[in-house]
Each structure stands twice: as C-alpha cells, then as structure tokens.
Amino acid sequence: MRRLLMMTAALVLAACEGGDGTRTFVLQHLEPDAALALLGPYMGEDVKVATTKEPPTLRVTAPGDRLVEIERVIEQYDRAAPDVQLRFQIIEADGFTEPDPAIADVQQALGELFRFSGYRLAAEVVAQVKAPGFVQQRAVAGEGQEYMIEAQVTRVIQSDAGHAVELGVSLTSPQGTILSTQLTVPSGQTVVVGSARARAGANTLILVVRPVMR
C-alpha cells in the first residue's frame, strides 16, 4: 500500500511539473554515493540528482516513469546488509568405492551426470560474510593437502521473487588455481562447480557452494 501511494505521488508530481517530478529519498542504509552509482543506468539528460551526506539523501528530478523505476531501485537496495553464510565442500572424484554419507545428495546428483568412480569429501568449511564482503578460508584435506577458498560476495539480491547471492569463488592449492568462477545463487541452493581441465596426476576436484542469507 505504501509503495502504491509513493508511486502514485511520484506520478502526480510528474504530471504537475510538465512531465518531470522531484522526489527526495532519505537513505536508511546506503551511502549517497553508493546509491548514485546504483542509479547509473537510469541517468540521462532528463534526470537530475543532488545528494546530501547529512542526512543522507538523494533528490531526484526525472520524468514520472523514470522516477518510479528509481524509487524501485532504491527500495530494493537501501536495506541493511545481510549476513551470508557460505558452506563449502571440496570433493575428490574418482577412485572411491564407498559412498560418503556427508555428501550423499551431491554424490547422487553427480552420479546422474558423470561416470567418475566414486566421490569423497576432502574438506569442508563454513564462512560468514556481510554483503558486500570478502572471505578467505584455509581448508586442509585428510592427507594434509592444503587448499584456500576465497569468496567475494559482490551483492545480495532481495526481492519479492526471492533472494540470491552474487559471488565470485575460487579454489586454489599451493600449486595454483584449481577452480574460479562467478555465480549467482539463490539463497539455500547448492551449486557444484567442477572443471574438465584435470590436474596432472591428481584426482578431479569439485567445489560445492551453498550460500544462505541470514
């Protein structure tokens, strides 16, 4: 209801000022500069924005429809940064005959797609990061093999349609980078990342990523 009223108000303002409306957004969590950056794609000759740092505000003059879009963007991103819990599992493929109950669900999914002869959990870590943020976690496998997992959470997406986390993840060993990719993962879902570029003389490594927004 409140949103509807605000949209209506913006449209009325637009009608009253020859097609352009002006609105002042008081930011609750975003810095004005950050909000301005978010609005980059909406800027144009017909959009004027002034900012104040104290209190943090954006004063936007724009055509009515553009103003509604800008309001939607601010509403979507001007929220407290949520905590994101990241659960990582490093899985070794090939050469394991016993099923590993710790990775039963992932093992079943991989079994549908690949013909590796078994999988086992090499290491598991859980990290907490506030979005946007970076986390680096060391993981040690059973044989003492060390790995480093890095995750850069670039942003979280919160909307009525759902929540998702945008992040870059990488898995490295002292010998170099094993996996690296950018993902957008809905909160609570699991992405299993692997590579066809095998490591010389070593088993294929698979990284399981599961972000959960708190």
């Binding site: 909307s159 759902g162 990719t181 879902q189 990342v193 590579s195 066809a196 095998a198």
Partner: protein
C-alpha cells in the same frame, strides 16, 4: 580411449570432434561407440539450441531509449543464463567457443544478457571470456552442477 576418458574429453571437444570427424582419439572412439556418440549428439543439439536462443535474444535486444532496466542489463558483465528444460528433466547445455563468439557478436560487440524470469530461483554463471561452461540441472531441484572447460 575408453568410455570414461571419452566422457571427459567430450566436455572439451570442438564440434568437429563431437561429430566424429578427424583422426583424434575421441573421434575414433565416437565412431565405434554408440553410447558416447549419443552423448556427443546431445551436446551438439544443446549447443545448437543455445545458439538459436542466443540469436533470438540478440535480435530482441532493445533499441536506445528503452526502459532503464534493460540498459542496465546490457551494461552488465557477460552473463550466461542458460534456459533450462522442464524442472524435472535433466538438461545439459554446453557453451562452446563458437557460442562465446556468438555472445560477443552484434553491432556494438557488447555482451548479451539472456535474462530469465526465474533468475532468483535458479543459479546462473557469469562465465569468463574464452571459456566454456555447462550448467546442468539435476533431479534434485536444489542442486545445480556447473562444469567449466
């Protein structure tokens, strides 16, 4: 080359190898193994379907002055949101180097974003340039497999 080796090689093979042409180990294996040949054909079909989808997305790209959300999408990084088959079905779509090139083709050479309405419900991958990526749904709706090659 045995079937296990062939399955892995399929993920890195170029279209010609997938068709079984040439004298490479994979091509020779595909000519003799109906099972692996069927897998290769699925990959080729998936790539063709994806090429078509990307072509349609490129044709539907907005002209200047369209809503800002679309302009924002055009400015985004290369993002490969692979349209997937029905939820229960397993879909395997592979992006080869050719498809990556297709993504970059067009008048302004900007990446094309294929936006799905369920982007917040299904994982997606932002692939690095020059690399292929396969996004594979599994029978478990909460698990998606991403394979780079």
């Amino acid at each position: 080359m045995n079937c296990d080796e062939a399955r892995r090689a399929l993920l890195e093979a170029d279209p010609a190898e997938l068709r079984g042409t040439g004298t490479g180990a994979l091509a020779l294996h595909l000519r003799d193994c109906a099972s692996c040949r069927a897998d290769a054909e699925r990959i080729l079909e998936g790539t063709a379907a994806l090429n078509t989808a990307i072509g349609q997305a490129a044709a539907a790209r907005p002209a200047p002055g369209v809503p800002a959300l679309r302009r924002r999408a055009r400015a985004a990084r290369t993002r490969l949101l692979v349209p997937l088959a029905a939820a229960a079905a397993l879909a395997v779509l592979l992006l080869s180097g050719d498809v990556m090139d297709a993504l970059r083709s067009g008048d302004d050479a900007r990446p094309v974003m294929v936006q799905r309405p369920d982007a917040l419900r299904t994982p997606s991958v932002n692939a690095a340039g020059g690399r292929g990526v396969a996004v594979m749904r599994t029978a478990n709706p909460d698990i998606t497999v991403v394979w780079t090659f």
